[in-house]
Symmetry: C2
Subunit: 460 residues, 2 copies
């Protein structure tokens, strides 16, 4: 019987295993997961930490028994792969990691690698102190939540103000902890442009103490009674009982690269539409791979949950002999920053200009509901587009209605729409849900008018 | 000086007048509005009746003084036009309606007709009783709200369970009135398919008493102490202090048709992309006109607020010598039915089949947020598509997140997408806002799989 081995039991890995099983019920499917949990929603970890999600098990989409018994998938937890040998079609397993029958290696007919991304650890001393965490696995989150529940954590420093840092900060505030956020860059949330980031920053500052342009230099054992640790930054020293490192992630592709798989300079592995790597019968999916960016027109590394699920499904389908293709991403993401929704898709202005596009941005603030209908709030919409009108990206921030409105712009990016096309969209209207000109339309109309004025008055 | 006359001071008319003023600051712009208010949000009337919007003036986007003083628009309230004479380029005014200088007619160089739609009055006796209302103008709504505030209205009958009927029922319940809803058809909300309408019906039944398949036969003076009126329906007699007639609207195009304007059999007036009617220098916009339906591929009468605003703007721009075009609609609409959002776009299954399309529907229920995140609720998504996968329409109902998700489907219709294209969309994800497979994606994936199975297993 042919054997499919899947490395990684996260969203991509379990999607791959399940898809492969559907395509070929006779295939032996083995999943090697280094941690103690599989098929859990990694994006839910901050909400588990904050106590909004009561139990770690709530994040698990399906228990291991579902995979083992109902789907016939040989799911091996605490089983770490240490090497891939594409010549021998084998993966080597770490000694004593609980692999079935103490196997030291597993042969495969097809291999799907979903090794994900690892948190970046800044090269500073003190990160091995016991109360220093990254938030990348449920195992680690369980330890952190236990610590929070102990009542000994009163002050925390979150290093990094990207998606994960902001969500971690919110979670800790939810858990009753006073939080300092330390960010080396001059602003928060580098994935959105300045006017949108400024809104996120203001919201963050309502709930935490924010240190911008402050680089972490060390984590020391605490010297003051206020905290058991001290985060040393170039602007000062911050006493803390807990330090969370959230300065970003990088592709966890050492195994693939050591085995010879083609990759981008950032370490993300290159795949085709069927998620095939450059190695024979080796597929990759999830946060480890570069994906076609439909606006940039080239592969880019944009590690986000929906694509992890979808690419896992494609890899498993194709690895098992079925047909599937992943078309690409436009870089859509949303983050809840306390009471603010911040959503983005496509290219930011700087991204677009860096890509050599003649890009401009149009900003428009309108309301989430008809102005006379109670409960509405301002929505800041930024459209990034070329000077001849092609939509390149969009960003929306506000207290309600940003997340799903950015999906209209994402869909417009998939369609290759201009701002005129967006302005002509027939979007839903009723006073409780939108003004008669939806904020997306209002921004597109403004952008289209600006370009028309440019054409009418400008030199060629 | 050339003169533009606009008939109607609603959304379309005031959009036309303002757009014309922007294009040609030297143009004389006269707006004749039969009622006492201009530029108000007609869709807000139910919320004013229910007390959610405190004052009638809150619905007025700009006061008359803004148009008169800031925009130089000669806005004439309580000025009714009784005829259009396209040969003489004149409109005739009703005697003594407050027209400036008691003019009996006005000549025009260009005319924009935004006469809207009138409520249909069923041909039954008793509709002239004092407590029988339609809800189509703010003047009438002010009278009704005054009546509600008098404390004498304890029971109401709403005749018709379309958008306006459902919104009126909600408003009256909000105002503390016990409501019976009477609908001649076997179900509510004929603009959505049965599974979606059933959800609206269940929600309506939680708050009102619903009579389906019950045709209004008469409104009698009350014979019981329970109400001052009796609504006689074929299933019984319903005592009431108030009857609201909301059985639909029809194009208010008598003036245009008498003047010879081309129109569809339903009375909606035919226009080109610049909103020109078949009469020289006569434009029309708003709820009176048929618009290109981009899914049907022919003009259709779909009277909704956003298109009224947009077509008014186009008509005014072109009438004043500028350039603009209206591309068309896909029939997107949303209604709040108590705690339920019901949204639709494109064609329903029956519409599609009636149009000769080989259409099928796919239904999928998923959640509005990640399943472990609190506050989510089920979303029922129905996709209507051809057997070869072209998206024709979509309908979504749920307690949150239906309205703006249908906009993704509306955008997909504008783009001419297939269900495969929709399944490949990169939509936003974070646990508070969506599951990792957004309900729209989940439905599209199910539809695409169903079609693939059909192709794989079916005969040609």
């Amino acid at each position: 019987m042919a054997r499919l081995v899947v490395i990684g039991g996260g969203a991509a890995g379990m999607s791959a295993a399940s898809a492969a099983r559907r395509v070929d019920p006779g295939l032996e499917v083995v999943v090697c997961e280094a941690g103690g949990f599989a098929a859990y929603g990694m994006c839910g970890i901050p909400y588990y930490l904050g106590g909004i999600v009561p139990e770690a098990e709530d994040l698990v989409a399906y228990p291991p028994s579902t995979f083992r018994e109902k789907r016939g998938i040989d799911l091996r937890l605490r089983t770490r792969v240490t090497a891939i040998d594409p010549g021998a079609r084998q993966v080597r397993l770490a000694a004593g990691t609980g692999a079935a029958e103490d196997q030291e290696s597993l042969t495969y007919d097809a291999l799907v690698v979903t090794s994900g991304a690892d948190p970046v650890r800044p090269p500073v001393p003190g990160l091995d102190e016991p109360h220093v965490f990254t938030i990348r696995s449920l195992d680690e989150a369980i330890g952190l939540r236990r610590l929070l529940a102990s009542g000994t954590i009163r002050r925390a420093v979150v290093v990094g103000a990207g998606y994960i840092g902001l969500e971690a900060a919110e979670a800790l505030v939810c858990a009753g902890v006073a939080v300092d956020v330390v960010e080396a860059l001059p602003g928060v949330l580098g994935t959105v442009d300045e006017p949108i980031a400024a809104l996120a920053q203001a919201e963050l500052e309502r709930h935490t103490r924010l240190w911008l342009g402050a680089r972490l230099e060390a984590v020391d054992k605490g010297s003051t009674p206020a905290g058991s640790l001290t985060a040393v930054v170039d602007g000062g020293e911050i006493p803390a009982d807990l330090v969370v490192i959230a300065v970003g992630v990088r592709p966890a592709t050492d195994l693939l690269i050591q085995a010879g798989a083609g990759h981008l300079p950032d370490g993300s592995v290159v795949v085709d539409a069927g998620m095939r790597t450059s190695l024979p019968d080796v597929f990759a999916a999830g946060d480890a791979v570069a994906l076609p960016h439909l606006v940039l027109g080239r592969p880019a590394w944009v590690p986000l949950g929906p694509a992890a699920n979808k690419t896992g499904r494609v890899a498993g389908t194709v690895a098992a002999g079925g047909t599937a293709a992943f078309r690409g991403v436009v870089g859509t993401a949303v983050v809840k920053v306390f009471d603010l929704e911040v959503a983005r898709t496509g290219l930011g202005l700087a991204d677009a200009q860096a890509a050599g596009l003649d890009a401009v941005a149009t900003d428009e603030v309108s309301r989430s509901r008809a102005k006379y209908y109670p409960g509405g709030s301002p929505l800041h919409v930024r459209l990034v587009h070329t000077r001849d009108g092609r939509l390149l990206g969009g960003q929306i921030a506000g207290r309600e209605g940003a997340a799903k409105r950015v999906d209209v712009l994402a869909t417009a990016l998939h369609a290759g729409f201009t701002v005129d096309d967006v302005a002509a969209l027939d979007l839903s209207y009723a006073p409780p849900f939108a003004p008669v000109y939806d904020p997306v339309l209002a921004a597109a109309i403004k952008a289209a008018r600006g370009l028309a004025a440019l054409t009418a008055g400008g030199s060629p």
